[in-house]
């Protein structure tokens, strides 16, 4: 899910993307809480960074909100009409009508067009439970079952929903498979972002030596 300002933008998600691509970056770009974090990587994968060539470039340490807000109480935010902030639990902002969500899923967001515009794009903030490798398998199985049972209770469901989380309650094998898929996906994104960053840095060095 990503977020834009509400009210300042009324068009479709496609329009928003066109605006994001064509407009001049203002300020520092959307603040993100930490370099290499989920939001940063989702943005890198999404290509939001491309319009901030000097700024929100994947894995760059240049002038971006995420650098400035590093370690502070910054949450993801969007300041300008064309800013997009990826995945953020911003329920109060949504309830207050100040930000609007653009979701990968029809039921949690305003549009289902995302899937058609960006087939295959997947950026999930997920949580799981893990234990050390020498945990007895039977015990792990029991904890898995008991925690999954709790996740199905109505009061817990309500609480999770309020935090915009959806319980999964998968088996250990399924969780392990999911973790492996995530590692494969983000490994590719990070390698791609790193090579693009190194390339742009190489260009900058070449330009400087030309001027010298």
């Amino acid at each position: 899910m990503c977020w834009s300002r509400a009210k300042t933008f009324e068009g479709s998600f496609k329009d928003l993307m066109a605006l994001a691509k064509s407009s001049t970056p203002q300020g520092d770009g959307p603040p993100l809480p930490g370099p290499g974090g989920t939001a940063h990587l989702s943005a890198a994968y999404f290509g939001i960074g491309r319009r901030h060539q000097d700024g929100l470039h994947p894995l760059s340490r240049a002038r971006t909100g995420h650098e400035r807000h590093r370690g502070g109480p910054c949450r993801h935010d969007v300041r300008h009409a064309h800013d997009l902030a990826p995945i953020a639990p911003r329920r109060p902002h949504q309830d207050g009508g100040r930000r609007q969500p653009w979701s990968q899923r029809r039921r949690t967001g305003r549009t289902g067009r995302w899937r058609r515009l960006f087939p295959g794009y997947r950026a999930i903030t997920w949580f799981g439970l893990v234990a050390p490798p020498n945990t007895p398998s039977a015990l792990a199985e029991r904890i898995n079952r008991d925690v999954a049972e709790v996740l199905r209770r109505p009061e817990v469901l309500a609480k999770l929903k309020d935090m915009q989380m959806e319980p999964v309650g998968s088996s250990r094998a399924e969780a392990e498979k999911f973790f492996a898929e995530e590692a494969a996906l983000w490994g590719k994104v990070i390698e791609d972002a790193r090579s693009r960053y190194n390339r742009s840095r190489g260009d900058a060095v070449a330009r400087e030596s030309k001027h010298a």
Binding site: T125, V130, P133, V147, V168, S170, E182
Partner: protein
């Protein structure tokens, strides 16, 4: 050569925004705990999603269901790696669990030169 510990990616995936309607395992092993205490490591500072989930498990599972004493420890830093390494090396006596998130499990291995543990699957 660094001895790479392994955190086994086990147990249940808790909550995600994905369309993964996965069934819950129906195995019914009533495996005994090694002690009557649980240690839940949250590899981030208090107040975030992982913290809330850790405390939710502490209340509903550890206290109410298992009647165990439980400590929720926020061990933040290095994008979750410090808490994850702590759990990987933890004694099993106070059942160690960690609320996992993408960082320590699936992305940090590609971002950090040295990982103090080896998330599995790699």
């Amino acid at each position: 050569m660094r001895d790479r510990r392994t955190v086994l990616m086990e147990l249940s995936a808790l909550a995600a925004a994905a369309g993964l309607g996965l069934p819950v395992s129906s195995a019914h092993a009533q495996a005994p705990f090694l002690s009557r205490s649980v240690r839940i490591v949250v590899p981030y500072p208090a107040g975030g999603g992982t913290d809330i989930l850790g405390r939710l498990i502490a209340d509903h599972n550890c206290h109410a269901q298992w009647n165990h004493s439980v400590v929720v420890e926020n061990i933040g830093g290095a994008a979750g790696n410090i808490g994850a390494a702590n759990v990987a090396r933890s004694s099993l006596m106070a059942t160690p669990l960690m609320v996992a998130a993408p960082g320590p499990i699936s992305t940090n291995a590609f971002l950090y030169k040295d990982m103090p543990y080896g998330p599995r699957p790699s």
